[in-house]
C-alpha cells in the first residue's frame, strides 16, 4: 500500500490541504495530524464573539470528525511530531513511533511570543492562541469582574484590543499598555489608530503609550501588578499579552528545510524540498520582488492550503490575491485589504467620528491597501480593486460622489 500524504497540523490550513486534495480527486490515503486534542476549529472567534460570550465548543468546529471521516481523511488528534527524517521520508512522533509519508504538508501554525520580563510566567499572565487560552482568559475576566479587579492588556494590536473590548463587555476596568506611540501601528495609518483609540476610550478603556514593561509582581504565584520602566504600577487581576506570534517552523528548520522567520514557500506553497509543501501561519512567502511576506489570517491559511494541495498533485494554483482580514471591536467591524507597508499617501472616505469610514493607502500613486471601519461595501470593492490592480486616484477614493464600483465593472 502507498504511504499516505501526511498533513502536520490540523488547523484551518491543514484541514484545507487535506480537503483540497480530495477536491482535486486525489484518491490515496491522507493522514491529518493535530497536536491539539480537538478536531479543526475556528480561531478568529476566540478573541471576538466567543470571548465575549463563550458558547459550546462544537459551534467553533470547522468540520466535525464524522464529516472529515466521510471524506476518507484520517484525523489523529493529540499527536506531536518531533522530527522529520526527509531522507527516509518518515516522521518521528514524541511517543517514539514513526510514520512513513509519500509527500508532506506542514501546517504547523504559530506560537505565542512570551513576555521576556521577570514575572512573565506568573499565573494569571495569559496569551491567546488556543481554545484553552481563550477559556482561561474568559474565566479570568469573569473572576476580575466578581472581585472588582482590573485587567492589564500588554500590546495594543488587534488581539489586545479585542480582549480589551471583551473586558469592557463585562464591565471590567482595563488598561492597555502599548510600547509604540499608537495602536495597531504595524498595520494601520495614524488616522485609523486614532479612530480605534477614540472608540475604546469611549467605552472606558485606558491607554498608556510608549510603555516599557519592566516586570510583573505576584502574590502567591499569581500576578498582582504590572510595573513599567518609568516606575508606575498597574494593579491587575489578569494580564493578557498580545505581543504577536512567531511562525512555528522549528520542525522544518531542524530538518534543513529553508526557513527565515517562517518556512519559505513560493506562491504555490512549495518549500525547498520538492516533496514538502507548507501553508498558513507557519510560512513566509517569497514574492516576485524577493521579499518575504508573513501573513496571519484565515484567508492565507485557506488559500495557501488550496495552493499547497494542488502542488502536491503536480498542479499549479498560485495564491497571490490581495490579503484581507478583519477584527470586531464593540459594534465596529474593522476590515483590512491589501498591504499598506511603504505607503506615501492616505485619503479617507466617510465619517471619521462615527466611525464609518475607509482609509485608502497609496504608494507612488497606486492603491496598495484599504482599511474599512463599518464600511463593508468599501471593503468588498477594495478587494476587487486591489486584485484587478485598477487605476484609482486618491481624489476619486476620497470623493463620496465617485462610484468606486465603476472601475471594477468597466476595466480601466
Amino acid at each position: 500500500m502507498t504511504d499516505p500524504i501526511i498533513v502536520v497540523g490540523a488547523g484551518q490550513a491543514g484541514l484545507q490541504v487535506a480537503e483540497s486534495l480530495r477536491q482535486e480527486k486525489h484518491e490515496g490515503p491522507i493522514l491529518l495530524l493535530g497536536a491539539e486534542p480537538h478536531p479543526p476549529y475556528n480561531r478568529p472567534p476566540l478573541s471576538k464573539k466567543w470571548l465575549q460570550e463563550p458558547g459550546e465548543f462544537n459551534a467553533l468546529l470547522i468540520r466535525g470528525s464524522d464529516a472529515i471521516a466521510r471524506k476518507n481523511i484520517e484525523l489523529r488528534t493529540g499527536v506531536t511530531v518531533s522530527a522529520i527524517d526527509r531522507a527516509a521520508r518518515r516522521l518521528h512522533l514524541v511517543d517514539g513511533s514513526k510514520l512513513a509519508y509519500s509527500k508532506l504538508a506542514l501546517a504547523t501554525g504559530a506560537r505565542l511570543r512570551r513576555l521576556p520580563v521577570l514575572g512573565g510566567d506568573l499565573a494569571g499572565v495569559l496569551g491567546l492562541r488556543s481554545l484553552e487560552d481563550a477559556a482561561a482568559i474568559a474565566a479570568g475576566l469573569d473572576s476580575c469582574r466578581a472581585r472588582g479587579l482590573p485587567v492589564v492588556v500588554i500590546g495594543g494590536g488587534f488581539i489586545g484590543l479585542e480582549v480589551a473590548a471583551a473586558a469592557r463587555k463585562r464591565d471590567v476596568a482595563v488598561t492597555v499598555l502599548e510600547g509604540l506611540p499608537r495602536l495597531m501601528s504595524r498595520v494601520v495609518a495614524p488616522i485609523v489608530s486614532q479612530a480605534a483609540e477614540r472608540l475604546h476610550r469611549s467605552h472606558g478603556v485606558g491607554f498608556v503609550f510608549e510603555a516599557r514593561v519592566a516586570g510583573l509582581a505576584g502574590d502567591g504565584g499569581h500576578v498582582r501588578a504590572v510595573h513599567t520602566a518609568d516606575g508606575r504600577e498597574f494593579p491587575a487581576g489578569l494580564v493578557v499579552t498580545g505581543i504577536g506570534i512567531d511562525a512555528e517552523d522549528s520542525l522544518a528548520s531542524a530538518a534543513g528545510i529553508a526557513c527565515e522567520r517562517g518556512i519559505i514557500v513560493d506562491d504555490c506553497a512549495r518549500t525547498s524540498d520538492p516533496l514538502i509543501v507548507a501553508a498558513g501561519d507557519c510560512c513566509a512567502r517569497r514574492r516576485a520582488d524577493g521579499s518575504l511576506l508573513r501573513l496571519e489570517s484565515v484567508q492565507n491559511a485557506s488559500e495557501q492550503g488550496k495552493a499547497a494541495a494542488a502542488s502536491l498533485l503536480g498542479l499549479e494554483k498560485p495564491f497571490t490575491a490581495a490579503p484581507w482580514f478583519w477584527s470586531d471591536q464593540y459594534d465596529v467591524k474593522f476590515q483590512m485589504a491589501g498591504l499598506s507597508a511603504g505607503y506615501d499617501q492616505v485619503v479617507t472616505r466617510g465619517d471619521l467620528d462615527k466611525p464609518a469610514f475607509s482609509a485608502y493607502y497609496f504608494k507612488a500613486g497606486k492603491l496598495v491597501a484599504v482599511d474599512s471601519l463599518n464600511r463593508i461595501p468599501d471593503h468588498m470593492l477594495a478587494r476587487k480593486l486591489l486584485d484587478k490592480a485598477v487605476a484609482l486616484s486618491p481624489g476619486q477614493a476620497a470623493d463620496e460622489g465617485f462610484d468606486l464600483g465603476s472601475p471594477v465593472r468597466v476595466p480601466a
Binding site: N42, P45, N58, R63, V298, Q299, W326, I376, M380
Partner: protein
C-alpha cells in the same frame, strides 16, 4: 432544533440537524455540506456562506440586517431574491423542513 435540507452545488441533497442557537452555516459546515467557505467563521465579514432560501420559506425568516444586506450585494455567484448568508440564519423548530441551495461559487 430544526431539520434543514441543504442542496449542494452538485445537486446532492443533505438533511442536517440545526441545534437551537446554532447558525445554519455552523451546522451545515460541521456536518460536511459542500459549497460553503465561511472564511470569516460567521462574522458577516466575507460573504462566502451565501445560500438561496427556497422562496416558500423566505417570508418566515427574519429579514437581513443592514450588514447582511450590504454583504449580499457582494456575493460571488448570482444574487437572487432568496439570497441570504447562512451564518446569519438561526433556524428554530418553526423552520423544520427549510430548504436551502448553496451556489457553485463563493469567491
Amino acid at each position: 432544533m430544526a431539520h434543514v435540507t441543504c442542496i449542494e452545488p452538485g445537486g446532492r441533497e443533505v438533511v442536517i440537524e440545526v441545534a437551537s442557537g446554532w447558525s445554519l452555516m455552523q451546522a451545515a459546515r460541521t456536518q460536511g455540506v459542500e459549497g460553503i467557505l465561511a472564511e470569516c467563521g460567521g462574522a458577516c465579514a466575507c460573504a462566502t456562506c451565501h445560500c438561496y432560501v427556497d422562496e416558500a420559506w423566505l417570508g418566515q425568516l427574519p429579514p437581513p440586517s443592514a450588514a447582511e444586506a450590504q454583504m449580499l450585494d457582494n456575493v460571488a455567484d448570482e444574487r437572487l431574491p432568496g439570497s441570504r448568508l447562512s451564518c446569519q440564519l438561526r433556524p428554530g423548530p418553526e423552520h423544520d423542513g427549510l430548504r436551502v441551495t448553496f451556489p457553485a461559487r463563493q469567491i
